[in-house]
Amino acid sequence: MGSVATVAALDGAVARIGQRFGSRALTRGASFERRSEERSLRTGTAFDRLAGGIPTGSPCVFVGTGTCGKLALALRAVAAAQREGASVMWVDPSATLDPLAASRAGVDLDRLLVVRARTREDALFAAAAGVRSGGFRLVAVDTGPALLAPFVRADDVAPLIPIVRGSAAALVVVSDEPARRLVLPTFRFERIAWEQELGRTTGWTFAVSAARGEQALFHARSLARQLLDLGVRRELVEASA
């Protein structure tokens, strides 16, 4: 153990480096684990309390039937990545991305690279290039609605798994159907109730379920074009009790 003077000199050096180059220039060993948690993408919603955010260096799948909110939350994740200063790749083989919805979710369209791949191979190639390059914080693959008989499925991302595990990017697959052959971290989206006013549908409430059974609840309002964060079900139950 060094003398008090040595420790003080070291602290001074660390402080000077922090002031000059930023607080992220140096990492103390004790805070390294915490930093690795900080690498996950925070959407700023109850989803973060459910799953700790969207993991980077790992794939995850948003699964649910049409109009269940999975795309809305994926767009929130895109906006969150962009708020950190990063670019995002959106692989859109079904060409169904709505720029207006993305913009209303807070997505900066100038920093969203949309790849409309025409074949499964092209879609996987684009996603692999995006993850491997290190240029994107988040790569999202939207397989498209099941009605359109998508040619990319959640199972097809198997070749991307080793690539994303060696990178600092997050890979989110948005799909109507879950992976059948792969075991991937999966978040299931389920519509709980429709909201109606004057006989017309004006929104819906949906739940996001993680593997351990916990749920985060959201309410999407189509007229106001809002996504209301209702919270985690357990917390709501405890609060009401």
Binding site: G85, P99, D110, L113, V115, R118, S133, F136
Partner: protein, 332 residues
């Protein structure tokens, strides 16, 4: 202290001879600039230990130009202006240095030696100032007030304070790294792995010179096949070894077979200054925009038009959805 040698090629020399002389000088000396047609300035700072004292270098310049069939006179002085004036007063085939200080050397010369406007020269003549020494004796502030900035610069030259740098072209340096393999490489993955080391060396050379590669060449010798040459354009130019390897890997991906490769070399064919490209030091996310652009370019080349897009909102409140936004190519 003599820092600049100015070579004045004989007036009747042909264009080809002048060009040969310039090329020879640029090959022999580190920084050679062109003052005007047939007048070349050689910046000698830092060359004494390697090439000898300035007068020795001047003598070499004379011989180099003579070999190029362009006889010249060389003047050596602390600044380019004085050296040029000295060269104009030196016989062809000789090299001379200043015996006195620059101000003393210029003092007896006519004031027309200085780069002055004819109207200023006329006014000086009316004032009875006909020699550089008399002009240098004037107060610098008074010259600036009366004759303007150009005359003030000429006054500084007359006083021997010639600190205009020589705009020399730096010597061309070949940035290249190569390696011969003990066993021939047959797979792309192995070749990419081997290229990483070469890319690191090239990137180090680029970084040492503050350069970024704009064009990159992979030259691979193959067993029983003609050499493989892959040329890549890197936009934006980069000195990042990862980006260099990535570009080459993409080039290799486009080939079905690479054959058995015995030796490989990477060379930066064209470079650019690396100014303002250090965003990434402590901003790991924001600095990756260049990587994203490179990926977009690659995907555009691979997937064709209409595949790599960016959306722009026009009229969010438009009645027809197709009028709300349009899609544009990220890479034209």
């Amino acid at each position: 202290m003599s820092r600049v040698a100015v070579a004045r090629i004989r007036p009747g020399a042909s264009d080809a001879a002048r060009e040969r002389a310039l090329l020879s000088l640029r090959a022999a000396l580190p920084r050679v600039g062109v003052l005007e047609q047939g007048v070349y300035a050689c910046d000698l700072r830092g060359t004494a230990r390697l090439l000898g004292v300035p007068l020795v270098v001047a003598a070499r310049i004379v011989s180099v130009c003579a070999r190029a069939d362009a006889a010249c006179a060389v003047g050596v002085a602390p600044g380019a202006f004085v050296a040029r004036v000295l060269a104009e007063r030196t016989p062809l085939g000789e090299a001379r240095g200043l015996a006195t200080g620059p101000r003393e050397f210029l003092a007896p010369l006519p004031v027309t030696t200085l780069p002055l406007d004819p109207r200023v020269l006329e006014e000086l003549s009316l004032m009875g100032i006909r020699e550089v020494g008399a002009f240098a004796a004037l107060d610098a502030g008074a010259v600036l007030d009366r004759f303007g900035r150009a005359a003030a610069a000429a006054h500084a030259l007359a006083c021997g304070t010639d600190d205009v740098p020589v705009h020399g072209v730096p010597p061309v340096r070949r940035i290249r790294a190569g390696r011969r393999f003990d066993d021939a490489i047959g797979s792309k993955e192995q070749l990419v792995f081997a290229l990483r080391m070469l890319a690191d060396q090239v990137a180090q050379s680029l970084a040492a010179d503050g350069l970024a590669a704009l064009r990159l060449l992979l030259h691979a010798e193959r067993d029983g096949a003609p050499p493989l040459r892959l040329e890549r354009v890197l936009l934006p130019p980069t000195a990042d070894p990862t980006a260099l390897v990535r570009s080459l890997r993409w080039a290799l991906d486009e080939r079905a077979e690479i054959g058995a490769i015995d030796a490989a070399a990477i060379e930066a064919l064209e470079v650019e200054p690396l100014r303002g490209r250090q965003l990434g030091l402590f901003a790991p996310d924001g600095a990756r925009i260049e990587e994203a652009i490179a990926v977009a370019q690659h995907l555009r080349g691979r997937l064709g038009p209409g595949a790599v897009l960016r959306a722009r909102l026009h009229a969010p409140d438009a009645r027809l959805p197709e009028r709300e936004a349009d899609w544009t190519e990220v890479v034209a």
